[in-house]
């Protein structure tokens, strides 16, 4: 599995804030993702009602997950497909390798899959002599750079075109060195030509799945480029690498979810390609894969069903929470240190790799609540982050300064009269010390604030005093 650096969130965040190219790239989130989502959501009067049904469908499925899985499996098998169960990331990797080895596969093309990122599939296949080729443009770019995705639907959102150009010149040797690669269109055309050859020669194609349908034994991918379709159509075998919570009961249910997915993700009414796949090539089919395998990953998800984190399993991976997150917008996705960034990552990552390794993430939030406001399946992300903070505190994982500070504050907070007296004194003292300037350029214990800006001095009584006097 990819080594998580979530424990170094603070250092990662500082690095992100100081990275000028990253800051330039993050600047487009507001005008693109956020503005476009709002435009298409406002155009559909039923949008909020659809979010309710989307939430209810996911809740219903999770509460009956064992039975829907059995139904789903029986339909896949009836169409000649295979279903494999992977309790852990290592199991999933081994299952992929087994299929590739049996087919003597040398190269594997890959559609975009967060599960493949989660289990660290690319490095594993390479170590075993099989060449994985990412075919989504963003994934292809970060594979060339040996990086993790910095966004779950726009993996290379942190990069500028000049950085991509430098990578293409480094890797695509054999092309004229004086070719023009200054515009994104030129970069795309070059990647398209190179990847077209890979599509046609690959032995196995691996995709993820946005949804699995119990009614028909169908897996669904949602893409804009068409790379996922070429990945799964041309090779001898198609492997769907996915996880148990992607299940929905029926085609009608998936219609509800599709209506909120693309709108929340990219601000499109529909993504360009929504592809429903059911089993391998059939009698008389002139194309399509000869084998169809589904690998269902658990990796900690079944345990999440038991408690307060079940809500998180509704997530349909649209990325709206990170697009709207002021912390993500400031530090970028790599600061989160693992494959899932932003608010959804702050809740999911501790569930999957442990709160001891990811305790900073649920703390990297201002609790402004925008993530919950835009979530298409209404996951209470701030509440879930608070649950993690509670657990971190209970397990004595938070640093002693934080614990000491909280204990100090709690002592006063439990004694309202003392609290009122002490804050009143402090406000008076600060008002006097602030003097005519009315602000501080430096304060003890507050250098983190005053290094960047002045701290305003109190102008009068405390909030509690004002409240009492105005009631």
């Amino acid at each position: 599995m990819i080594q998580a650096t979530s424990q170094r969130f603070k250092q990662n965040a500082h690095t992100g804030l100081a990275d000028r190219e990253l800051q330039r790239s993050l600047g487009v989130l507001e005008s693109n993702f956020i503005a476009r989502r709002k435009f298409v959501a406002d155009r559909l009067p039923e949008f909020d009602a659809l979010r309710d049904t989307a939430r209810d469908i996911k809740n219903h499925t999770l509460a009956h997950l064992d039975l829907y899985l059995e139904e789903y499996e029986s339909r896949v098998v009836a169409q000649g497909g295979h279903v494999h169960y992977a309790a852990t990331a290592a199991d999933a990797r081994a299952l992929v390798l087994d299929i590739c080895r049996r087919l003597n596969a040398a190269t594997v093309t890959k559609g975009k899959s967060m599960i493949a990122e989660e289990v660290g599939l690319n490095d594993f296949l390479s170590e075993h002599g099989i060449t994985p080729i990412e075919t989504d443009l963003g994934e292809y770019i970060i594979q060339l750079r040996h990086e993790m995705p910095s966004h779950i639907i726009a993996p290379a959102v942190h990069l500028t075109k000049a950085q991509v150009e430098a990578d293409f010149r480094r890797v695509h040797t054999g092309l004229p060195p004086d070719r023009d690669l200054t515009e994104p269109e030129k970069l795309l055309t070059e990647a398209r030509a190179i990847l077209r050859e890979k599509f046609l020669s690959a032995d196995v194609g691996i995709t993820g799945a946005n949804f699995l349908i119990a009614e028909t034994g169908t897996s669904i991918i949602v893409t804009n480029e068409g790379n996922g379709d070429l990945t799964q159509t041309l090779p001898r075998a198609h492997i769907v690498l996915t996880s148990i919570e992607k299940l929905v009961p029926t085609l009608d249910d998936v219609a509800q979810l599709l209506r909120v997915l693309a709108r929340s993700a990219t601000g499109q009414e529909m993504s360009v390609y929504t592809t429903l796949s059911t089993g391998p090539r059939r009698d008389g089919d002139p194309d399509g894969p000869g084998e169809y395998h589904v690998i269902l990953l658990d990796n900690g998800r079944s345990a999440m069903l038991a408690g307060e984190f079940r809500d998180m399993l509704r997530c349909i991976r649209c990325g709206a929470c990170m697009n709207h997150c002021p912390v993500y917008q400031a530090v970028g996705g790599h600061a989160y240190g693992w494959v899932y960034p932003g608010p959804m990552g702050a809740v999911l990552t501790p569930s999957l790799i442990g709160i001891d390794k990811a305790g900073h993430l649920p703390n990297a939030s201002t609790f402004c609540g925008r993530c919950e406001e835009v979530c298409p399946v209404r996951i209470p992300l701030p509440k879930l982050m608070r649950f993690w903070r509670d657990r971190e505190f209970e397990r004595h994982l938070s640093p002693s300064v934080v614990r000491g500070g909280l204990r100090f504050w709690a002592f006063f907070a439990r004694r309202p009269r003392l609290y009122g007296f002490v804050t009143h004194l402090a406000a008076r003292a600060l008002a006097l010390l602030g003097g005519a300037r009315g602000r501080f350029a430096w304060l003890p214990l507050a250098s983190g604030w005053t290094r960047e800006r002045d701290f305003p001095a109190p102008e009068g009584a405390t909030f509690q005093v004002l409240w009492r006097s105005r009631r």
Partner: protein, 227 residues
């Protein structure tokens, strides 16, 4: 214990169930049999003419192009017109669909028409849609000998014939049609829902058409209304 039993066991343990509870099993069986409909946007609930108008509008909004012709005999001419407009060679490939085979291709003598799947060498393909969804301007194509999947993705230019009688308002209606055609709990190997030509915005959020699939999607709407 197999991985399957292990995972189903841990799901059941987390949910506090055995999997044998009759009421739970009935809830699941009923939902799969009845597939209840959720919220359907009012946008697509229109008469045929307005529905086709909305479809054309939504296809254009997703960067596809549309030609509307009064009868099916005009398809070869409309195909040739599209190819000429974009300075493309007069050559297309389509699958074994009987509706495509029956077209009067001889009316366009200069147009070369081949039949079969794509191996990546063709610049333009023609498919016949199973249907189309006005709500979002989405074309619905089903795989098989009649309309090979490779024709939807490998050629640079994809031309799709849509019979206006197959245009529905919403996704629920198209799924009902699929159940009628292929049977309950059955689907063809692939159902492609296609909304506009291929695109990517992965480099600096700049939208570019023609990422891995077709750069152009051209829809020919045949307005021969059946009684």
């Amino acid at each position: 214990m197999s991985a399957r039993e292990l995972m189903l066991g841990s799901i059941r343990q987390a949910l506090g169930v055995t999997g044998r509870e009759e009421p739970r099993r009935k809830v699941v069986a009923d939902r799969l049999a009845a597939h209840p409909t959720g919220v359907v946007p009012a946008r697509g609930q229109l008469g045929l003419k307005a529905r086709v108008g909305l479809l054309a509008e939504m296809i254009a909004a997703s960067a596809g192009s549309v030609a509307q012709i009064p009868d099916v005999a005009g398809v070869p001419g409309a195909v040739a017109e599209f190819l000429r407009r974009h300075n493309l060679p007069l050559s297309v490939r389509h699958g074994h669909d009987a509706r495509l085979a029956a077209l009067p291709w001889h009316l366009e003598g200069a147009l070369e028409v081949t039949v079969g799947a794509s191996d990546g060498q063709q610049l333009a393909s023609v498919s016949h849609a199973f249907g189309a969804v006005a709500e979002t301007g989405t074309l619905v194509l089903t795989s098989g000998r009649d309309n090979p999947t490779t024709l939807n993705f490998l050629p640079d230019n994809h031309i799709v014939i849509v019979d206006v009688n197959d245009v529905v308002g919403d996704f629920e209606a198209i799924f009902a049609q699929l159940r009628r055609q292929f049977g309950d709990r059955q689907l063809p190997r692939v159902v492609n829902l296609i909304t506009g030509p291929s695109r990517s915005a992965d480099i600096e959020q700049t939208l570019i058409l023609g990422a891995h699939g077709p750069r152009r999607l051209h829809v020919i709407l045949v307005e021969e209304v059946r009684e």
